[in-house]
Symmetry: C2
Subunit: 90 residues, 2 copies
């Protein structure tokens, strides 16, 4: 079964997201993708590193993609924000 699950990184403490990843893998997911935008990108990398190094050493980084998203800001103007998606497999 190829099941894909994702964890969107926001402003909560890093360990909340680490726990979310661990829970997904423990519930049988073979693939988990960690997504973040803007300043949460550094936190996404922290989540991946802590998950792999401290808790699930058999998890591998399959792919890292970066990109740009256009956000609509109030007033109708648009701004660009960087994105990252890190795919982990077990």
């Amino acid at each position: 079964m190829s099941e894909s699950n994702s964890v969107l990184i926001g402003r909560k403490p890093v360990m909340n997201y680490v726990l979310a990843c661990i829970t997904l893998f423990h519930s049988g997911s073979k693939e988990v993708s960690i997504k973040a935008r803007g300043r949460a990108i550094s936190r996404a990398v922290d989540v991946v590193e802590i998950t792999r190094r401290r808790f699930l050493p058999d998890v591998k980084i399959q792919k890292i993609d970066i990109g740009t998203e256009q956000l609509q800001v109030e007033g109708g103007a648009s701004t660009n924000v960087s994105t990252i998606e890190i795919t982990l497999t077990r």
Copy 2:
């Protein structure tokens, strides 16, 4: 000539680093690697995205590596910091 050059991302404005990348490519580099630690990781992704999308569309992302470095803090304790290295080629 396979020349490798790197740009270390710190706390300066994003465009300073974008300009550093463009200058390296314009001076003949075929490969430029952008490195950052901790909270500068998001800025490193911004630098890569702006360089590629706005200025040098022929530049490709060859590789993205993430890792962990141990830092020695004052008092002798050590702390972990996440790192990223994005390799661009032209």
